[in-house]
Assembly symmetry: D2
Homo-oligomer: 353 residues x 4
């Protein structure tokens, strides 16, 4: 198999680190160049100790993207992953895309179909005309559009968890498309690699806390865009993110009002129909998911419960925020865009325990 030549821009963040891991396992992709800002000039093993001692990777030197040109890169590469802060990611991705490279962007910049939504939540968009070129990389819900996509927006971690759980219920019209509550808990890697007071181990490791609640977290509009599209109506989500004391994983508990007469088995059947043959597993009966079951995996697991006493459905999902919620999903979408088997090169069996 002739490998597609890839580069990662923003290699020293956690999504970059996870891309390096996945690319090392992938038979159809090779990592040719590594770019970073604060880490430029460093050997890769210094920025990412996860490759210390790995021949062919540890000595790779991190470059400054500003010192090369998109045109030059387009002669040596096929695909570039951009994992940068928003706005900057859009700018960099646009120049690479225009030079003919396929771009997979891990920021929020190309996730929104409406410019106004982006502007409301993130500010000015440096490349608004490209929004219509981008494809949202949630394979299970956008597979057809991703064929031949040249600009892919990898979905956010929390939206991935919420959409995978609620999507089948909204599509099958089993729940009210209002009163949606997403109570989600993320491992701390979701906060990025920069140390802050809120990621300092002594004040983070033995407790749990909510943050950016009541409609203030930027993943809210992304959930709403996709769930509204699936439901066919404009809906709102109350989203409560929480920081839990481990590195990787998201558990989303999604609450919705069941429509009259709906059974939990209908919920499961809808999910099974949606996700047959995909990387999303639907748990049986009374099995409730654990984030540990998907650590390091590009899979997601969903599970459903219905409380007859109150009429609520609970749609649960677990993902690894860095694999399924970011880098693994980015490669999954790239696989589809290139006609590869969807799971090619992806770690599926979780690292357990």
């Amino acid at each position: 198999m002739k490998k597609l030549r890839t580069a990662v821009v923003g290699i020293a963040g956690y999504t970059g680190a996870e891309l390096v891991r996945i690319l090392s396992l992938h038979p159809g992709l090779s990592l040719e160049r590594a770019f970073g800002a604060s880490t430029r000039g460093q050997r890769l093993a210094r920025a990412l100790p996860s490759v210390a001692g790995v021949a062919g990777l540890e000595g790779m030197v991190i470059e400054n993207l500003a010192e090369t040109s998109p045109e030059a890169l387009s002669k040596e590469l096929d695909v570039v992953f951009t994992a940068l802060p928003h706005a900057e990611s859009a700018r960099v991705g646009a120049s690479l895309y225009r030079a003919g490279l396929q771009v997979v962007d891990l920021s929020a910049d190309y996730r929104f179909s409406e410019l106004s939504t982006y502007e409301e939540w993130y500010g000015a968009h440096p490349e608004p005309e490209l929004l219509s070129k981008a494809r949202y990389g949630l394979v299970e819900w956008h597979r057809a559009e991703l064929a031949d996509a040249r600009l892919i927006a990898a979905p956010g971690c929390y939206p991935t968890a919420a959409i995978l759980a609620l999507g089948p219920l909204l599509q099958a019209k089993l729940i009210e498309p209002s009163a949606l509550v997403v109570d989600a808990k993320s491992g701390v890697s979701g906060a990025g690699r920069k140390p802050t007071a809120s990621t300092h181990l002594p004040e983070t490791s033995e407790g749990i806390r909510p943050y950016k609640v009541a409609g203030t977290h930027r993943h809210t509009p992304e959930m709403e865009q996709e769930l509204s599209r699936i439901a066919g109506v404009s809906l709102k989500v109350l989203f409560t993110p929480q920081l839990a004391p481990f590195s990787r994983g998201i558990l989303a508990n999604c609450y919705a009002r069941a429509l009259p007469g709906v059974s939990v088995e209908q919920c499961r059947d809808a999910a099974r129909a949606t996700y047959a043959g995909t990387l999303v597993g639907v748990l049986d009966d009374d099995t409730l998911p654990d984030t540990l079951w998907v650590r390091g995996s590009a899979r997601a697991l969903v599970s459903y419960a219905l409380d007859a006493r109150t009429g609520w459905v609970i749609a649960f999902s677990v993902i690894d925020n860095l694999t399924r919620g970011a880098s693994g999903q980015a490669v999954q979408a790239l696989n589809v865009s290139r006609g590869f088997p969807e799971a090619l090169g992806l770690p599926l069996v979780a690292q357990f325990p």
Copy 2:
């Protein structure tokens, strides 16, 4: 101060261990006798290594309650804490109570005013006629009734968190007394001291998972009893417990529909009015609570947010499940029953970090 003489039955469990810690700090209570079943005959330090090297405690021998009589104990003791499995706790507590001892029960056995509720969720009650004698030991909501109480039911951990958060809103009629969702995360000490597959560190420490969801957890009716009483109407709660990878602490996110025109400041004011001068702190403005802030403390913290986009109120609370959620609260109720200052001898400043 002449100390009240106490004993703990079920000393080797986590609530027993926490009672021993609190009693060691309390100027008005002394631990005179320790009882255990599987640990009988052991030195206390062997069963509870937290007292190894503590003069006066480490050498105390754990006794078998069956080898003494309630009458004999009533001559040597003033108060007995019972921390046993349900039904057994009721039986033991009843015999001690009838012998004239004050009993503080940490099981669920004396928490329900309706026998039928207990029977539905726990099975047959061995001492139904005592239900009417018992007082529910949530001081902030039952202070008056606790004066001179001789049989105190220490509340459950999850109900404590949920009631403290939602109580003021229901009392002040700020939320709909339906559509209540309690999404709560507990440290693993809440599962008790017996090792099981679900508490085995490698499968518990780096992830999070729900359990007993959709109206199947026994703390549901306890929340409903108290919140219905406060609201003045019979209401239902959808309760989703989750196991989080640390030892102590509960975070409860309680979702309710705001009544029209209600502001978050009204929510905070209601809580401040309810909890002035108590062990419940109401966080200001945009401060969200962290379980770490109450570790080892008998305090609770509550906080409120309102999402204008969707009309949901979120009432947050954090407690230490063993201190505020069990043993500390038991002593708080005992303090009130004896006319002591409510906080006497209780650890209030959290162990931080």
Copy 3:
């Protein structure tokens, strides 16, 4: 590549789970059959939730090895991994080996060249005559002997860490072959999958403790056998294992007296010479290793320091106890025995963070 057909006996333990993960990534090995005792009859996803939703694996049914015959298996399989309690592993492995299957044993049963050593530490050996057929699967030190090996003993986790760190120093005669102290900390997965008081999260997750110290841990003679062989003299090791509150990883701090005039650079050079082109990375200068850098990887990292004030050398090593310390190393040795590239199919880049 025509895949070798493999089976795992003892699939539901942690080394079994890790084998399943590695086999799923390996281009030259397929998992054909899964055997377990207490889990027989279960779908694999029930015993190992890490494969829930993985096509081709989740539905595999765990079989009872007693219900088939080695001869029948030998027609369908090429290799069997045995991951069973000691003695039982020897018995099962022997019957499979005699039926013509290649056996990779993850227990201690075939690690010792001297029967008396095994008997002293483990008890009677059910298949003593096979000891001379077995090859110790530490590839970096036994590569040549492993070619064409049909009975491979995968090394123990702690010995792997200690031997990789100290081996080069003993071989190059840089340290005294006495006064060796190995102070090692392991994640809790090393204790296996059975829940016990010492793996119960509330009493394990926020602390650290030694166990089986002062020459009582069974990995002691394994370290001594290999280090004596390398040193060319019979030596003893003081080994102090400790349980640290995470799932995977071992950090071994190995203390030895430097021989006169030895420099730390000589130590590093010796290690670099030994490990060039292998899966063991030698850290530069002042870089100290972290178990996090090898999580989920078949690599090991070693690092050296010398304290001129006291004359001690410290040889550090980190491994993932399940990957490098067990299942990954088992496959590494199998690769060598079959003439595959040593690292074929092995995860090398760590899951970071």
Copy 4:
């Protein structure tokens, strides 16, 4: 009991936080003033959420020490705890001491009897003439000198663990006073409250790593000063600190060569003789300590093992680095200096689990 009036300078660090907790439990000490630099002007509950909701503490305003004078403070206070970076702590403490206040310093500034040792490891000392006035606050080894001490140097955390373990063996001449190796693991609170890459949860919580090894950690000379004093000879220590993934606790494994004929029982007897009636517990027989057993406690536990195969003694100790290793020990020394019972107001029973 008329309370001594105290203040804490550097209240928002972890030793400050722990002092606040201990002072809240102490019947003979009151916290009157709180000083901080970066937190000046804040309410105490904002800097230390552990007091949120605690009447009398949460509203205390943190002051800037520079805006008052030692003389003014000396009229309102009896004791000041200084918990500042080294050199700054010496300066501040000296001015308070000269104004007549009793000073308990939690930095390293007043721990050394030889100025040259301080200068070699820490740099210039701003108040060298006060070194001779200071008393080293390790009560078990300096009780007599601490009576009436007006300038107390609270010992470092690692030295406390090492000295308590090895002291009795050196005093009783049971081990060689050379070849001492201290392999110690600390919770992350020991690194202070400032977030750094090495305390960032995703890169710290699921692994363990050494740092500042081979004679480079500043606690080395402190151990050597005290152990040399006890042994009566100048000795050296090889000290290997490690960061373990929890908040609080130190486990020190101290290796020494047993002198000929020495038994483990002699080691225990020596420790029992030294520590009778103190806050140090000596574990029996085969009991090995766990840091969890002293969390939040001012106690220490020590334990001994002897490996007859190699002749090594291992002296184990566990402490809570913030309680016994810092603030609790500071109060213990203050208690002794004032003629209070040594344990007055100190939490002894551990927070377990």
